[in-house]
């Protein structure tokens, strides 16, 4: 049963406990910190990115090797994204956008390896990342523009009598950004992994229940799972891209608040 349970893959398991803040010492009380399977894959994700980028660019070749070219393409892809969405002034956030993009991309890709934990399938992770973007936008927006940052909520060229309607809408849409940003990524990854698991689990159950006939019946769900795996690779890449692009656009608001 556990083998086909589509939810089991999202379970956080403590690999070794670290410490607990507060609580009365009983199970589940206080803030419990541990090195979990999620933490392990965060470390793997970051280590892979860092090792890949540093190893491939070590020789600084004029004519790049394949690895160096990949690293350069990744760099130029994100740099182009930042430059086109947030302008040259947005390039000071390039490391942030690059880190976000590569972290989400690699986490999503690792998540598609069987038995690997998907870091981005937990709302708290995606929400923390989106709050990082949201707070960066607010803090940098106020530091750079001062009170003029609030112009963001008063679109230029809108007649005065519509402002009482438009401004609350703008405020609500601004405040809902971290939610939409995090839920979009979380929802896509979660739904994709559940769907994959359901189809593969269906194949396993068929074989278990129907024997030889089940092998035949399992072909369809397996084909579906293969197709879905391809789709999930696409979704993983697209969601990382979407997260990075939206980050750039939100940062653009902080840099140029007047629409």
């Amino acid at each position: 049963m556990a083998g086909t349970d589509p939810i089991h893959q999202f379970v956080i398991q403590d690999l070794f406990p670290l410490f607990t803040i507060g609580g009365d010492g009983t199970e589940g009380s206080g803030l419990h910190f541990a090195f979990t399977n999620s933490a392990l894959f965060m470390v793997i994700t970051v280590a892979t990115i860092v090792v890949f980028l540093l190893a491939t660019t070590g020789s600084k070749k004029l004519v790049p090797t394949r690895g160096q070219l990949t690293a350069e393409l990744l760099y130029e892809f994100v740099a182009g994204m930042v430059r086109s969405s947030a302008g040259t002034a947005g390039m000071k956030f390039f490391p942030l956008v690059f880190s976000l993009f590569t972290f989400i991309l690699f986490a999503n890709m690792f998540g598609l390896v069987p038995y690997f934990f998907t870091v981005t399938s937990h709302i708290i992770v995606t929400f923390a990342l989106s709050m990082l973007v949201f707070l960066t936008v607010i803090i940098y927006g106020f530091i750079k523009n001062g009170p003029k940052f609030l112009k963001l909520f008063v679109p230029a060229g809108v007649p005065g009598y519509i402002l009482p309607i438009v401004t609350p809408i703008e405020v609500i849409s601004f405040l809902s950004r971290p939610i939409s940003l995090s839920v979009r990524l979380f929802g896509n990854i979660l739904a994709g992994h559940i769907t994959l698991k359901v189809f593969t689990g269906f194949a396993v159950m068929m074989i278990g229940a129907l024997g030889a006939l089940g092998w035949f019946g399992a072909i369809l769900p397996i084909l579906m799972a293969i197709a879905l795996t391809g789709l999930e690779f696409l979704v993983g890449a697209v969601q990382a891209y979407v997260f990075a692009v939206l980050t750039c656009m939100y940062l653009n608001d902080a840099i140029h608040p007047s629409h």
């Binding site: 939810i7 607990t20 910190f33 999620s38 965060m42 980028l53 540093l54 690293a71 350069e72 708290i124």
Partner: protein
């Protein structure tokens, strides 16, 4: 529904927050009990759904896992950010900048060479045009000199010829005039002779007068 073996299977990789190494599957359930967990019974039930943490909620919404995830996200993402912004991105940016500078320098050198070539071609064409116009002028001069020489010579010959012609004409006219003067004398002599034969002697003067009269 919950069998002991199944609860153990779900429990296997877990460490229940306490120091006890619960990774030994056979001790999983007793370890829980040893913790004095008052919810030990329900605990086993929830683990049938695969929950490692006590609450039976959907794992992504289990707040008990939030502190660990946030902690490790902060550590790993912070490390990633620092390494990217301090090491990896400046390095890749440097590589790209280097290459761009080199390509730009090469392009500039090529452009300078091209301009030099253009200048050389222009100089060559200018020299060629000059040489051509020089040659033209030399040819023109030579032709003019030859023409002038020719014309002078022809004029000299013509004047020489015309002077000779006029001299000859003058001589002819003189001879003719001379001849004509002799005609009167011959006529007078002839007339004198004829008249002398017919009527006898006449004075030459009268014959001459008569001839002159007839001639008029």
């Amino acid at each position: 529904m919950v069998t002991q073996a199944f609860a153990q299977e779900a429990e296997t990789p877990a460490v229940d927050g306490a120091a006890a190494p619960a990774t030994d599957a056979t001790h999983a359930a007793p370890a829980d009990a040893a913790h004095g967990d008052p919810t030990a019974d329900t605990h086993a039930t929830t683990e049938a759904h695969g929950g490692e943490h006590e609450s039976g909620v959907f794992p992504p919404f289990d707040p008990a896992t939030f502190p660990s995830q946030l902690l490790w996200l902060a550590i790993t993402f912070g490390a990633l950010y620092v390494l990217m912004s301090r090491v990896a991105l400046p390095r890749i940016g440097g590589i790209l900048e280097n290459r761009k500078a080199l390509i730009d320098a090469d392009l500039a050198a090529a452009d300078a060479d091209r301009q030099k070539t253009d200048a050389a071609i222009a100089a060559y064409e200018k020299a060629l045009a000059e040489a051509r116009s020089n040659a033209q002028s030399i040819a023109n001069k030579t032709r003019d000199a030859i023409n002038a020489d020719l014309a002078a010579k022809r004029a000299a010959v013509e004047t020489d010829l015309s002077s000779k012609v006029s001299a000859a004409e003058a001589r002819i006219a003189q001879t003719k005039a001379e001849a004509l003067t002799h005609v009167d004398e011959i006529a007078a002599e002839t007339a004198q002779a004829v008249v002398g034969q017919i009527v006898g002697d006449v004075s030459p003067d009268s014959v001459r007068a008569a001839v002159a009269k007839v001639k008029e």
